[in-house]
Amino acid sequence: MKSTAILGMAAVLLSASLAGCGSSPSTAPSAKSIKDITIGTLYAKSGAFATSSMPEYSGLTFWASQINKTGGVYVKALHKKVPVKIVAYNDQSSATTATTLYSQLITVNHVNILVADFGSVLTSVAVPIAQEKKMLLFDQTGTGASFFTPSNPYIVLTSLPTSGLWPTSLAQYLIHKGYSRIAIVYATNDFDQSQDQTLVSKLKAAHITPVYNNGVPTSTSSYSVLLNNMSHTNPQAVIELGYPNNDIAFLQALKASGDHFNMVFTIFPGQLPQLFVSSVGPSSINNTYTYPAPPLLTFSHVNYGLNTAQFDLAFKKATGQSTNFLSIAGYNTGLIIQKTLSTANSLNQLSLRHAVSRFSGSLSTLDGTFKIDSKGAQIGETLPVGKITTNSKGRVSVQFVTSPNS
Amino acid sequence: MALLHISSLYVGYNSLNVLTDVNLDVEAGTQVVLLGANGSGKTTLLKSLMGLLPVHAGQIVLDTQDITRLGPSARVRAGLAYLSEIGVIASLSVEDNLNIGGYYLTRTLRRQQIRSLYQQLPILYEKRKNPASSLSGGQRKILAFAKVLMGQPRLILMDEPSAGLAPVMVNEMIQILNTYRSHGPAFLIAEQNVKFLEGAHYVYVLDNGQIRFQGTPQDLDADAHIKAAYFGLT
């Protein structure tokens, strides 16, 4: 009869472990009794996305601490300022874990606002859950075009344009320069491959066919042979679309090869310049092209929240970290939430969504002009093309070659 | 005092005893044969003497030194050598096998030994660069024998030297053994082939993990009961 004892033990453990997973379900808060606004989000402290997720999360928590210093966020539905409370879990870059955690935020913590983790992979699993539970998902940087469908009102992209829009400025610049020999290597993930598709179709519309256009696995870490193959096509412009690791490996191989091209383009030096300076050295990104993102890209006209210089100063003072694009993206998400709460007439998720549509196009933050289409996809905040200059001390500056406000 | 003195030895796997209360002596320079059928415990006894199996109880003394708890390499250094049924390392060359046999000798002594063994067993010299796996069954036994001789042991434990050999080869093996009788190491030979009794100084009969008989080969010859019971000899 020992076995019955084991099974009993198992049952106890099951209930104990579930109890450990969070506080017991409380009833949904009524608007009157709200003492704070809870914002539920996830971050990745380890794994593939940690590099990007952590600064984004710092940006959001920085926003929350700033707003709480002023007595909280103004909630129009309550006609008063209410403190903000962030409920956050670590998903370790695993989409599987993220699923349970998004569900935890909605069903157990009953957060008022749901914010996705960094990037498409960790955002993807939140899309159907949010839709099913009728929670508006503040998608920060999950740019996958397929998330945005006319039938789903429960998503809004806050801090980046959808990935298909990114290459607009790049294609424009290449066509403008009259480059006819263009070599492209892209990593075969949805972020990079969709950019490749857009870029190639835009070039083809201008009657330019790339002389080299090949996909490589996202795990590729040695680009020397690829680069050699590309250089055999005598390209004027060499474009590498990848994740930060790909860009690092590519730039390193490029520097070692001693090859020179009129133009070399990679995506992430514009977003994470410090990572590139420390891992491959300032000289390897010198004179290359990128999409400069805030803080390299600053907007003269900011009508909501801190501007880049103010943010840089305050963020450094509060967290000790230096500003990068993702901390600005996280902060920007906070601003969008702030604006939403001060616009919406009720805390109902659909009325939050309507509020976002209402101020779309009129809000200029340090991340650019916030503008969404009817599906919730970001079509503002577009990124220009810029040329990087570095000095030997690792200071990065950028010269725009397309208009930042296009 | 005997060279090897075993007293009330119990050996087995897990908690099960395979050998019970084994007492056995080998005098220096003698050939002792351990007779027994398959599964009687011969290999178990030799392995435990070599330190390859843990001893449950009892004592093994080699020339006043208690070796009961020593590992195999310490026993080799104490003067034991074990010729297993396989006997050689097939992937290594003939010369490497000899070198393995003389692992604990000085470099000069090792070379000297190899040279003298090549003189006694020229077939090994011919094949010295070949892997042991390329040798015939009989040649392998010769190599295995040379390998244990390399370390200049005082006592050689032989596990079924006749196993897998053609009768002609068995006779040759016995002849080689005879050349070493009385002016070399002592031998403890585990066998079921009674041919090995020829030239032996003393015999033990092992059955079901226990010593059933001990005496000279002549004593065994005289004991019709044992012969009939264990060897079907009449």
Binding site: K2, S3, L7, C21, L101, S120 | -
Partner: protein
């Protein structure tokens, strides 16, 4: 005299089967009722999925000695088989799940030759096979079938309640399968093979066929689980369903609980997955470290898992 002994033995046999039956019953009741008590169904759902996967690993490793590091390959194929059935063939969800399981079993047939390998060779080759499957599925060349790197979007078929119920059913069926195999002559034959394949073959046991059956069964379990998992997520990338950590967790749960038993994987999944969510959520920085150390300690001091603590005293554990 002999007759009474036989009757006694028969009684004991029936008693044991009864105890065995308690487990799937508890699983069924537990997971059917807990959504009413506990709101986060996603945790309950994933606990079931991992329990089913752990039983699949248990079936393969516990009864045949093959440790499948690449077990997630079948899981991912199941998810994609389901998604393809919905997207291209417009099947309803449940039928698509069955298709996922079947596709997984077909892939298992293709990889049958892996069973010729032993030990580490099998473990690492199965990992390589899973990598191949994952990379083929996500390659741009497959874009018209699997949507390549863009992943699958099944929001039109998203059905959290039905998929939850389907998971309960598959988990219960899996548990019953393991009980049957363990208590039938087939299971004893498997154990004999695991202990000493050569003697088992000489005793007339069809070694290759028995192993192949278990291999297909465990692939089917992983395929069905993956299919339901994918359905429950309804949006996933190749990385999501071919995540190596899924195999790793299933293996760790099985080893922790105790392989070769029915209770072991159940217990392992509840305790470790529960801990993973209780500790892991708040501070998983150290969680990988803890379960890494746990594995090392387990191998050195308790290779039979926690179940062996009870078995050690001669108690019968289902």
């Amino acid at each position: 005299m002999l007759n009474t002994q036989l009757v006694e033995a028969g009684k004991r046999q029936r008693g044991r089967l009864l105890i065995n039956g308690v487990i799937p019953f508890l699983v069924l009741v537990g997971f059917s009722l807990s959504p009413f008590v506990y709101a986060n169904q996603a945790i309950l759902f994933q606990m079931m999925a991992f329990m089913a996967l752990a039983q699949g690993v248990n079936l393969l490793y516990g009864f045949t000695g093959y440790l499948p590091f690449g077990y997630v390959g079948f899981f991912g194929i199941g998810a994609y088989g389901m998604a393809i059935s919905i997207q291209l063939l417009h099947f309803p969800g449940l039928l698509a799940v069955v298709m996922g399981g079947l596709l997984s079993a077909i892939i298992a047939i293709i990889f049958l030759p892996l069973l010729r390998l032993s030990g580490a060779y099998f473990a690492i080759s199965s990992l390589a096979a899973a990598e191949v499957l994952s990379n083929v599925v996500s390659n741009s060349a497959m874009i018209h079938i699997t949507n390549g790197p863009y992943g699958e979007q099944l929001t039109q078929s998203y059905h959290p309640v039905t998929s939850y119920v389907a998971m309960v059913i598959v988990l219960v069926l899996t548990t019953v399968t393991v009980i049957f195999i363990r208590n039938m002559p087939f299971g004893r034959a498997l154990m004999a093979i695991r202990e000493d394949p050569v003697s088992a073959a000489m005793a007339g046991i069809a070694v290759v066929r028995s192993r192949s059956i278990v291999w297909l069964l465990s692939a089917l379990i992983a395929g069905l689980t993956g299919a339901i998992f994918g359905w429950h997520l309804s949006v996933f990338y190749p990385n999501t369903v071919f995540d190596l950590n899924i195999s790793i967790l299933a293996i760790v749960f099985t080893l922790f609980g105790g392989y070769g038993t029915v209770t072991g994987p159940v217990l392992g999944s509840i305790v470790l997955y529960g801990l993973y969510n209780a500790i892991g959520i708040s501070d998983p920085q150290y969680f990988q470290l803890i379960y890494g150390l746990l594995i090392v300690a387990l191998v050195l001091f308790l290779p039979g898992g926690i179940i062996s603590l009870i078995q050690r005293r001669g108690n019968y554990v289902p």
